[in-house]
């Protein structure tokens, strides 16, 4: 078990190292372009040369890369060109805002999709089961910006119940969170519910459930005591991996509703060509994605006794 976790951890570090190298290569191998970005389009070549010399850009590429990694590991990502502030000062508040959004999405999506998935999987082919697969195909077909358009047209333009932007300029307001959270939950819950349903349906046909039913256990005890434990292993990994998908959706939703989160920051940085900010945001995004992969791999092994014991035995 420990060996597996260590190996996965090693793979994670390797991926992060290669990604960081590629990013640095893509964005900082052209030194003059970096200087042009930082000093602005009207700076002269001499000014750029001077700046490069002063900032130590004329040292070998690998030395610069090493220094960049060392700084980044200490939490220093340099200065944002657009916002004229240290990248780390921008990053953390934005990440906190996105964490609030993502936390609410998970808090709603997990109970909703697990309940629906388990109920549908308990009786394959029942009315609820067919309704759920219909609903989940529907909701996963509507991209985030489209469902945001529908919800805004209905709740903002027609009914005038909710605000159409979520910039929180006048302090925290829960009403501004309703639509962004709803859009993300709508897009994500269908997939998790379907996975839960498939897992539950598979467990329900297994011999040990038949045994439990045949020995006369009441139905609720078969479900709660026997089926659920095993049926929820697969959804666990799906939910953790959902973090990766959520990050893509978060960008669209934050841009649509002008929410001051991490996704909007990454988008603004990329559109503006704010090199150091793009590098930092991309590294954070990849870290979240790779770390959730790591958690889901290790968590799956911990939860699934069949794999756990097979590995320890072998």
């Amino acid at each position: 078990m420990l060996k597996l976790a260590l190996r996965r951890f090693g793979a994670m570090v390797l991926i992060m190292a290669v990604v960081s190298f590629l990013l640095f290569l893509i964005f900082e191998s052209d030194k003059l372009a970096v200087a042009g970005k930082v000093l602005g389009p009207y700076s002269s070549i001499e000014q750029r040369e001077l700046w490069l010399e002063k900032e130590g850009y004329n040292r070998p590429f690998l030395v610069r890369y090493g220094e960049w990694v060392a700084d980044a590991l200490r939490g220093d990502f340099g200065q944002s060109i657009r916002f004229k502030a240290p990248v780390s000062d921008l990053l953390w508040p934005r990440l906190a805002n996105t964490a609030i959004l993502a936390g609410l999405v998970f808090a709603l999506m997990i109970p909703l999709s697990l309940t629906l998935g388990v109920l549908a999987g308990m009786r394959e082919g029942s009315l609820l089961d067919r309704l759920l697969s219909f609903l989940s195909i529907g909701t996963t077909s509507i991209p985030e910006f489209a469902s945001a358009a529908f919800l805004v047209a209905l709740f903002v333009f027609e009914l005038r119940w909710l605000p159409g932007t979520s910039s929180m300029t006048g302090g925290f307001d829960w009403r501004q969170l309703v639509l962004p959270v709803a859009v993300l939950v709508l897009y994500d819950f269908g997939y998790v519910a379907r996975m839960t349903r498939a897992s539950m349906a598979e467990v329900m046909t297994s011999p040990y459930i038949r045994t439990a039913v045949l020995k006369g256990l009441p139905r609720h005890r078969v479900i709660l005591g026997h089926a659920l434990r095993n049926a929820l292993i697969a959804p666990f990994t799906v939910i953790v991996l959902q973090l990766n998908w959520l990050l893509s959706g978060v960008i669209v939703v934050e841009v649509f509703f002008a929410y001051k989160g991490f996704g909007a920051l990454l988008y603004e940085a990329a559109m503006f060509g704010d090199i150091y900010l793009i590098e930092a945001c991309t590294m954070v995004a990849v870290f979240v994605a790779v770390f959730s992969q790591f958690l889901s791999d290790v968590g799956y092994t911990l939860l699934n006794p069949r794999i756990r014991f097979a590995r320890e035995g072998g």
């Binding site: 793979a11 991926i15 290669v18 990604v19 893509i26 964005f27 697969s133 195909i137 529907g138 996963t140 077909s141 509507i142 991209p143 985030e144 910006f145 489209a146 469902s147 358009a149 529908f150 805004v152 047209a153 903002v156 333009f157 027609e158 159409g164 990766n244 998908w245 990050l247 893509s248 959706g249 960008i251 669209v252 841009v255 649509f256 990454l266 988008y267 990329a270 559109m271 060509g273 793009i278 991309t282 995004a285 990849v286 979240v288 994605a289 790779v290 992969q293």
Partner: protein, 296 residues
């Protein structure tokens, strides 16, 4: 060589017949039929766009007219209204279908060519080939998709070709994983051993023995992936990173309209409906095809 030539000719016709039969198979699943119907509708719109009696999609007429309104001179009806620049929404929707179908198709095709090549080599050759290709795939899959799109496109610019490239980067690794998994299973079959015993080369075995036998799951995935690519293209359009204006793009249509508020609700809802229905068509067809393949 003579043996090979004969095989090719005798297989060309049955292949065509099989393609036609597989269309007939759709009748087994109402879900697949519904999906195919939606797709046929959009395909017909896309093909017929130049023949339909539509206004020029880029021509400004009268701004922000509501749906079903008649133009000031009484000669034209704006069935779905006009947008903030006064362009006909219906016309932009239909021409937008043409654009998204062409580029989503090309991008998915490019992703498939790269993904299949990677997957065949990784699965059949194994060893270092597999290690290296799988690592590259893992590397690309470690990016959240939209982050990869945004970083690649802001770096290389938003031209149609670059968007095809970005979609290939994002999708090929997932296709590679599927093909690799299928090949790992198929390569132990007797017909592969037989081909190897006949002295066929690796390329022949990969393309003629392995690939055709992996087509079932790949077909389902291709439908789903057309849906993903449609979403990706429209989302990029919404973010201002998509196919360049002024030609209509469903995502960009929503982004242009959104700041206008309630006056332009129709110019926002119709493109959203269009993109959702097209993706729904792909997803329904994929679901139906999977159901049919499980039944056999």
């Amino acid at each position: 060589m003579a043996v090979r030539g004969r095989r090719d000719r005798s297989e060309a016709l049955p292949l065509l017949a099989a393609a036609l039969r597989s269309l007939g198979v759709l009748r087994e699943s109402p879900v697949a039929m519904a999906g195919a119907a939606i797709l046929l509708f959009w395909l017909a719109m896309a093909v017929l766009a130049p023949l339909l009696p539509l206004a020029d999609p880029n021509l400004p007429l009268e701004p922000l007219r509501p749906p079903l309104s008649v133009s000031a001179d009484g000669t034209a009806t704006f069935w779905l209204g006009t947008d903030i620049k006064g362009r006909d929404v219906l016309s932009r929707l239909i021409w937008g279908a043409r654009r998204v179908l062409v580029w989503a198709g090309l991008a998915t095709l490019a992703a498939y060519l790269v993904g299949i090549a990677m997957g065949l080599v990784a699965g059949y050759r194994g060893g270092w080939w597999d290690e290296i290709l799988s690592f590259v795939a893992n590397l690309l899959l470690s990016f959240p998709v939209m982050v990869l799109y945004i970083v690649v496109i802001t770096r290389i610019g938003a031209s149609p070709l670059n968007i095809v490239l970005a979609v290939t980067f994002a999708s090929a690794p997932a296709i590679m994983r599927i093909v690799r998994g299928l090949v790992l299973d198929l390569r132990t079959r007797d017909y592969v051993l037989a081909a190897r015993a006949r002295g066929e080369g690796a390329l022949w075995i990969m393309l003629v023995e392995l690939l055709p036998n992996a087509r079932g799951p790949l077909l389902v995935d291709a439908c789903l992936r057309m849906g993903y690519t449609t979403i990706a293209l429209a989302t990029l359009g919404f973010l201002g990173l998509g196919l360049p204006p002024p030609d209509p793009d469903w995502g960009a249509m929503i982004a242009e309209t959104q700041p206008m508020g309630a006056f332009a609700g129709h110019a926002m809802v119709f493109p959203a409906l269009a993109v959702s229905s097209l993706v729904l068509g792909f997803n329904l067809l994929a679901d139906g095809l999977r159901e049919i393949s499980l039944r056999d």
